[in-house]
């Protein structure tokens, strides 16, 4: 029941949620999270963010995250869409959404999906600053903690 996509194009949040709930009336709650490109980081102005990934591995890693969410929470379906390529401030990067008969499961699964996606799917972000510099975003310890906080067993790796 999971929709998984990696794409350069933007996504339509409303259309993706509509697709997730289409034709069913056993859903009580829809949780979603969208990550977007901020225009600054550490006080420096960001002109663009470039997303690189490992094509042969990405979709499988995302499927595992979705399967793990489906095994942990009573959800009826979920959607994970991640963009790659060069994105400008304000643009969407990622969408996760989960539907369930119950609000708590939908919200918890949504948080789980983004926490695990961040630490177990092979994407890398590079920021381009207004001063011409570029830098790969460093993984943050708090992201790792957020992901492993869901369980004794941390995500697969990285």
């Amino acid at each position: 029941m999971a929709t998984i996509r990696v794409q350069t194009a933007d996504f339509d949040i409303g259309a993706e949620i509509a697709a997730l709930v289409a034709g069913r009336a056993d859903i009580g709650g829809i949780g979603s999270f969208v990550g977007t490109v901020r225009n600054s980081a550490g006080g420096r102005q960001i002109l663009a963010m470039t997303l690189e990934h490992y094509p042969a591995m990405t979709e499988q890693a995302m499927r595992r995250v979705a399967a793990e969410a489906e095994s942990r929470f009573p959800i009826l379906g979920c959607t994970l869409i991640h963009r790659v390529g060069r994105l400008l401030p304000g643009e969407n990067i990622v969408l996760v959404a989960a539907v369930s008969p119950h609000r708590k499961a939908a919200l918890d699964a949504t948080a789980f999906l983004i926490d695990w996606l961040k630490t177990s799917a092979p994407f890398w972000k590079k920021e381009s600053f207004a001063d011409g510099a570029e830098a790969w975003v460093e993984a943050r310890a708090e992201d790792e903690q957020a992901a492993s906080g869901w369980n004794k067993a941390p995500p697969p790796a990285s």
């Binding site: 490992y54 590079k126 993984a139 992201d143 790796a157």
Partner: protein
């Protein structure tokens, strides 16, 4: 077995700043027979060029996948494997 004496042909992929330091996104290498696992492969790759050495200079910042699965330093590598090296992931 002759396997243990034959160089293992591996497909190596690099992502993000490892790719930038090595200078290529992928390469086919013939690893010597003493390379049995990820840690051994890293040690051997380091000697291939200054770029390789730079890419693997801070080993705790390097992650690996063998055949598209996250792999620890002691994970075995075998002829024909696709081995990818990259920094900790930062998607989402």
């Amino acid at each position: 077995m002759s396997d243990s004496a034959t160089p293992a042909t591996l497909r190596i992929l690099y992502f993000a700043w490892l790719r930038e330091r090595v200078g290529v996104s992928e390469e086919d290498v013939a690893a010597p027979p003493e390379v049995h696992d990820v840690a051994g492969l890293i040690a051997w790759l380091r000697g291939r060029s200054p770029g390789h050495a730079a890419a693997f200079s801070v080993e705790r910042s390097v992650r690996c996948a063998v055949n598209q699965d996250f792999a620890a330093p002691d994970a075995p590598v075998r002829a024909g494997d696709e081995v990818a090296f990259f920094p900790p992931v930062t998607g989402g």
